[in-house]
């Protein structure tokens, strides 16, 4: 059984169909790369997975658990249920969206600490011993989280920047922090939404190298990108989207080497054009 099964996802914004009957699967440890021209629905698809958009129809099943069953008796889920489900996915945004008022380390640990604190039993406000116990546990967990965060920051090559604020970093460094931040919550699937589109050309390399370095047998990733060379190098599976539908799916060799659909061919030859 595939780790992620996406079935019949459709989404309209007003009268515009952004996604039309999207179906695909992702295996554990696989890197899926979504390519296609702007406006083809790649980003919306990622946002549906991350609960930032709600699809109009379709199901999203992760590890056998149905996360989204849209259209079947529309009911608003409560915030906590959605939070729990969306934590299966991590998201790296095009514009980083780091928290500007926190330094690098804090950006990575903030959500971790909040979540671990939530898992602890709240002490009774009248029992001093319970409060003391609670504080001690918090401190221990925070220390653990910090260790984990530092390891991740080291992994993205920014260990000498832990006390810097996002405004003191380059775009590439910011994006690497964002990657560490997303990894910190150990999501089942890590999504990248055009992670290098907001970067200067000389900074894209460092980010792409980090993403490539994350590839391993137990890390599943979905990457939306316009970097074709990178896509070809990192992908296990490539999906080419056009006008809200999946035009072509295959291994990178198939899609890049021998595209079947004329639309894919047109897109790839345009993308390969050098000015």
């Amino acid at each position: 059984m595939a780790l992620l099964e996406v079935k019949n996802i459709s989404k309209k914004f007003g009268s515009t169909s952004v996604l039309r009957d999207i179906n695909f699967e992702v295996e554990k440890g696989e890197v899926l790369v979504l390519i296609g021209s702007s406006g083809s629905g790649k980003t919306t698809l990622l946002r549906c997975l991350n609960f930032l958009e709600t699809p109009d129809t379709g199901t999203i099943v992760l590890n056998g658990e149905t996360l989204v069953n849209a259209g079947a008796g529309v009911k608003r889920e409560n915030e906590n249920a959605v939070r729990k489900k969306r934590l299966h996915f991590g998201m790296v945004f095009q514009s980083f969206n780091l928290f500007p008022q926190y330094n690098v380390l804090r950006n990575v640990t903030l959500a971790m600490n909040m979540l671990s604190k939530e898992s602890l039993k709240k002490p009774s406000p009248f029992k001093l011993s319970e409060i003391r116990e609670y504080r001690k546990k918090c401190a221990e967990i925070y220390a653990d989280n910090e260790k984990k965060a530092l390891a991740l920051i080291e992994r993205v090559g920014l260990i000498d920047k832990i006390n810097n604020y996002p405004c003191e970093l380059s775009g590439g460094q910011c994006q690497r922090v964002a990657i560490a931040r997303a990894l910190a919550l150990s999501p089942d699937i890590l999504c990248f939404d055009e992670p290098t589109s907001a970067l200067d050309p000389e900074l894209t390399g460092e980010v792409l190298r980090v993403i490539k370095g994350l590839k391993s047998s137990d890390r599943t990733m979905i990457v939306v990108t316009h970097e074709m060379e990178f896509a070809r190098g990192v992908a296990d599976k490539v999906i080419f989207m056009s006008d809200g539908i999946i035009e072509e799916t295959g291994t990178p060799e198939e899609v890049f080497g021998n595209p079947k659909s004329p639309k894919t061919r047109a897109f790839l030859s345009k993308a390969a054009e050098v000015v």
Partner: protein
């Protein structure tokens, strides 16, 4: 007969005390109330939004002096429960008025924060409340310090409107002396108090701005 300088100063100081009381009470209550009103005017629930915005329109659309008069005389006139404390009436009117002005500053600040900040918090599993207090608020505070300081400085001088219901604030005290002794300088002298007060506030705001300059938002 000329009054002693020390006597005038003493009278003005007592007036300045009342001015400060109005100022601080208004500030302490209007700042949180303004945030509440800002949430109301941004509510997704239409009736709340409309009522809040209409209320803000009325309060910003009428003179503060008139509002002070209405708060003081209104209850006695319409509900047969006269307001006993003039100072309370002034503070109530000021709090409502300034909360409305503050609310618009808050709203501007909150709406200026990029959607990506909310989304980043959401995908990291934070609740809406956590996102607001741990991610958004400080960025908003940083952005609204300049317009807020403007408004707060205006509040210092608006306290002089309290004399419309004969609350003995700074200008009112000075006027009394002018009326009794027929000299004009005490009324001019009140400017010194306002200038020093606003000077201190300005330094404070500069300090705050500097404190928050470690990040860009």
């Amino acid at each position: 007969m000329q009054p002693e300088f020390s006597y005038v100063l003493q009278q003005l100081m007592s007036g300045f005390g009342v001015t400060c009381t109005i100022f601080f009470l208004t500030l302490v209550m209007a700042l949180p109330l303004g945030l509440l009103i800002a949430f109301g005017s941004m509510s997704n629930f239409k009736p709340v939004k409309l009522i809040t915005r209409a209320f803000v329109w009325v309060i910003r659309g009428t003179p503060l002096m008139l509002q002070v008069i209405v708060v003081f005389y209104g209850p006695g006139l319409w509900f047969d429960t006269p307001v006993s404390s003039r100072l309370t009436a002034v503070v109530v009117a000021f709090v409502i008025n300034y909360a409305c002005y503050f609310s618009e500053i808050y709203r501007g600040g909150i709406e200026s924060i990029a959607r990506g900040q909310y989304e980043a918090g959401a995908v990291l599993g934070m609740t809406k409340t956590q996102i607001f207090f741990r991610v958004i608020l400080l960025q908003v505070v940083k952005r609204i310090i300049p317009p807020m300081s403007n408004e707060i400085i205006t509040l210092v001088k608006d306290t002089s409107l309290a004399r419309v219901i004969t609350v003995a604030e700074l200008i009112k005290e000075a006027q009394e002396i002018v009326n009794i002794y027929g000299i004009l300088w005490p009324i001019f002298f009140t400017a010194v108090f306002y200038l020093i007060f606003v000077g201190i506030l300005t330094l404070l705001f500069n300090f705050l701005e500097k404190k928050l300059s470690y990040f860009k938002a």
